[in-house]
């Protein structure tokens, strides 16, 4: 027993700073492959070459070329995608020096870039990778009216530049309790004031955009990092990721989109089940709160069955893990999807919520999220049903490189 535990730790320790090494050619044999591109395949083989998926099919129809490294598993799935986390900005120690998810000096700071704060060597990311995660949408926390930008990174490499897929993915905005009182005694102190400030800033950004468009050559208005980020929001280059838990705050987000026409992605949405028709009509994708989020404060009415309700209604969503201030310091996509499945979401839909459907909302479904020929070879291997408590991740591949191996 103790030997096994020690092995597990050795594996973790070695993997933390592991270089991106692996066979250029590798085959995965699995009793079941959830490709998410058609029905699951029993007795499957996935061939990986030069970081891409070269073939997926029945073992009988997918011969493994001689000399290729072979990995065996009970189940293979696409590498998991955390649709929204603060890991990488948030660190494991939870002390001042490893908490980069919020600067509390001002309520509106869209100019803060995740890429300037993301630590690719953060142990929390290693933990996520040991549980099948290969991609994270990470960034500033939903703890201020606008806290900053997000990025999308693969869980690979020792630097943010080696890891990053999308350097600026979205701008994080929060409506509700967290949007007020970021700095004690400072504005905004109420929801109405928060929205007034946000609208004022978006109006300014719109004016800047108009001035730029109208300016004669050489007479462009002065640069303004803050407003430029919001111009990107108005232009649809950066979606506004609006965290809204209460139904009234979801209404608020829809009202703002109506006024300014930005690309809206909703985050959290604990009371989304009260606004099914409105959300369906608005065609807004949702990064739904972690299933096991604590039912208190603005999330007091959260339901572990909301994912299932959204699915039934045909509303696009993925599961996020969000931000945690204490323990657990990050949540794990695998575990959150498992509980959504327990509470009524079909197995494949739960898996999609942390793979392909997340990739779609992030605009990366041509590259990641399913096991299809030509896609990145991001794979998670399991020794049983991935959602079962006692199942282990036996290997995680990122771009074809085996970056985690379990002790089993």
């Amino acid at each position: 027993m103790s030997t096994r535990i020690v092995h597990r730790f050795a594996a973790l320790a070695l993997a933390v700073f592991a270089a991106d090494v692996g066979a250029a050619q590798l085959a995965v044999r699995a009793k079941k492959a959830w490709t998410l591109a058609g029905a699951p395949i029993d007795d499957a083989v996935v061939l990986v070459e030069d970081g891409k998926i070269r073939a997926v099919g029945k073992a009988a129809a997918t011969p493994i070329p001689a000399g290729w490294q072979v990995l065996d598993a009970a189940v293979v799935t696409p590498g998991l995608i955390d649709a929204r986390t603060t890991a990488g900005l948030t660190g494991i120690l939870n002390t001042r020096h490893d908490q980069e998810q919020l600067d509390a000096s001002a309520a509106l700071q869209p100019e803060l870039r995740a890429i300037d704060a993301y630590d690719a060597r953060e142990p929390l990311l290693e933990h996520l990778r040991s549980l099948g995660t290969t991609t994270v949408h990470a960034g500033h926390a939903p703890l201020a009216l606008i806290s900053g930008q997000t990025l999308v990174a693969k869980l690979r490499g020792a630097t943010v530049d080696q890891a990053v897929l999308v350097p600026a993915a979205m701008v994080s905005c929060t409506l509700g309790d967290a949007s007020t009182g970021v700095a004690p005694g400072k504005t905004p102190g109420t929801r109405s004031k928060a929205v007034a400030l946000l609208r004022q800033e978006l109006v300014k950004a719109r004016e800047l955009r108009d001035k730029r468009a109208a300016a004669e050559a050489g007479k462009a208005p002065d640069r303004d990092l803050r407003l430029e980020a919001l111009v990107d929001v108005l232009d649809g280059k950066l979606p506004l990721l609006v965290c809204a838990q209460r139904a009234k705050d979801i209404d608020l987000a829809l009202r703002l989109r109506e006024e300014f026409g930005f690309k809206l992605v909703l985050e959290g949405a604990a009371e989304a089940y009260l606004r099914i028709a409105e959300l369906k009509a608005a065609n807004v994708p949702i990064l739904l709160h972690a299933t096991m989020s604590r039912p208190g404060g603005e999330l007091e009415n959260l339901s572990m069955a909301t994912a299932s309700e959204l699915r039934k209604a045909g509303i696009a969503f993925a599961l996020e893990t969000g931000h945690e201030g204490y323990v657990p310091k990050v949540r794990v996509p695998l575990f959150e999807a498992a509980i959504a499945c327990k509470q009524g979401l079909a197995f494949e839909d739960a898996l999609r919520a942390i793979t392909l459907d997340a990739a779609r909302i992030l605009g990366l479904d041509a590259r990641i999220g399913s096991l299809e020929v030509g896609k990145d070879a991001d794979l998670a291997l399991w020794d049983g049903d991935p959602f079962e408590y006692a199942t282990h991740c036996v290997a995680t591949l990122v771009d074809g490189a085996v970056l985690f191996r379990g002790s089993k």
Partner: protein, 432 residues
């Protein structure tokens, strides 16, 4: 309203004599091997019999519950929780043995309903870990109660049951009068226990002469209960050296101790086992959140058991959700603990760590009729708690929409439970 109240009181009186027989389930008594298609007979608040269908007959007149295909196991025992919105010590001092959870417990908090939905029947609610000694804990049953006395567990002498919460490491440190270092933490605790020993000596010297007794001191009286083994120390501790400090203090003062959380248990498993100190472990989804929890490992329960130690598992609710208490044991199995030990850790071993094993923790005749009905293997993610029974009364039924709201969540799940057995029930319906 009065009529309703009288009727419900009458119903309660009847329930005390009711006989229920649960037949057809796979019964996990915990104190013995699983029983396929077993029979559980409940008379009033106690278990009358449990066994195979050919050994236990259904008494005539029993209300028969066909639970074929279900699993039935003892109600879960949570050795460390913070439900009920209770508080213990305040910020005036690091050691406050006089503060009682009993005096601040909200029996209508929705967190209690969630615990019922998770299959928890017995619970130890504690003050937080921000103090070296944060006050007296409360052992209670998850009954639908109107007062804390209704649900508190009592010792045979009538005293309300509970332990004493202590902590070391970083949570209990702070600005003076709180300790600034680990050594100072231990020194303050030793000083206080020595004072309690002196207090006891003076009491003994005074003997029957009341005029010579020291003035009553509520804190000292509580510490005497600790020194005399009437009140178990439930000690929050994470880092390996902090664990050993607890064992050192235990050896010096001889109190009974249960180690709680014990993040680094896997590093000092043999020392823990050698000291005979039981562990109440936490399993969190991710290491960290603070330096002393950085090395959290799901292998800890298995490591302690392999070393010969005793392990229960707790929610630490608000850290882990009481509704998913079974999941905590699942995570311990993920870390290498046997299924049998994992289920015992949720039930009988927890009962032992609260010294309540004569009453709860297993399905045996004479014990309290506290049990859960599940729709499958308790260690599978897909399994739901269908019913929770405490002392022969059903307190949770997933088939009841009101109970399901607590179990799954939804609009109104954050509201406090209002009065039961009376007009409140109607109000609760109206709110939804």
């Amino acid at each position: 309203m009065l009529v309703t109240l009288l009727l419900s009181l009458a119903a309660r009186a009847t329930a005390a004599d009711e006989v229920h027989a649960f037949v057809g389930a796979r019964i996990l008594p915990i104190s013995g091997p699983p029983i396929e298609r077993g029979v559980l007979v409940v008379r009033g608040a106690r278990i009358e019999a449990v066994g195979a269908a050919d050994k236990v007959s259904v008494p005539s007149g029993a209300l028969v519950h066909d639970v074929s295909g279900k699993w039935l196991m003892p109600g879960l025992v949570d050795t460390h929780s913070h439900i009920g919105e209770a508080s213990g010590a305040d910020e005036s001092a690091p050691i406050q043995p006089d503060a009682r959870i009993l005096d601040s417990f909200d029996v209508r908090a929705p967190s209690l309903q969630r615990a019922q939905a998770g299959g928890i029947t017995t619970c130890n609610v504690m003050p937080g870990s921000g103090h070296l000694l944060g006050g007296q804990t409360l052992y209670f049953k998850l009954k639908d109660a109107n007062s804390v006395e209704d649900l508190a567990i009592r010792w045979p002498d009538g005293a309300i049951a509970g332990g004493m919460k202590m902590a070391n490491g970083t949570n209990s440190r702070g600005e003076p009068p709180f300790p600034g270092t680990r050594a100072k933490s231990a020194a303050l605790v030793r000083e206080k226990f020595i004072a309690a020993q002196e207090y006891e000596r003076k009491l003994n010297e005074a003997g029957a002469d009341a005029s010579k007794r020291p003035a009553r001191d509520l804190g000292m009286e509580a510490l005497l209960e600790v020194l005399r083994g009437k009140r178990i120390v439930h000690h929050h501790t994470h880092r390996h050296d902090d664990v050993l400090t607890v064992l050192r203090l235990q050896k010096e003062f001889g109190f009974k101790v249960v180690l709680h959380h014990v993040t680094d248990a896997w590093k000092v498993a043999s020392e823990i086992a050698a000291a005979g100190a039981p562990c109440s472990l936490i399993l969190v989804d991710c290491p960290g959140g603070k330096l002393e929890a950085r090395d959290l490992n799901w292998g800890s329960p298995a490591a302690v058991v392999a070393a010969g130690g005793r392990v229960s598992i707790h929610t630490d609710d608000w850290i882990n959700d009481s509704r998913l208490f079974l999941r905590c044991a699942g995570m311990a199995v993920r870390g290498g603990l046997s299924r049998e030990k994992a289920l015992e850790a949720l039930t009988l071993e927890g009962a032992r760590q609260l010294e309540l094993e004569a009453r709860v923790g297993s399905l045996e005749s004479g014990k309290d009729a506290d049990f859960v009905v599940l729709d499958g293997d308790p260690l599978s993610v897909y399994t739901h708690v269908e019913q929770t029974w405490i002392e022969g009364a059903k307190v949770f039924d997933r088939g009841d929409p009101r109970d399901k709201l607590w179990a799954v969540g939804g609009y109104g799940a954050g509201n406090a439970r209002v009065l039961h057995d009376c007009c409140g029930e109607r109000h609760a319906e109206d709110e939804r």
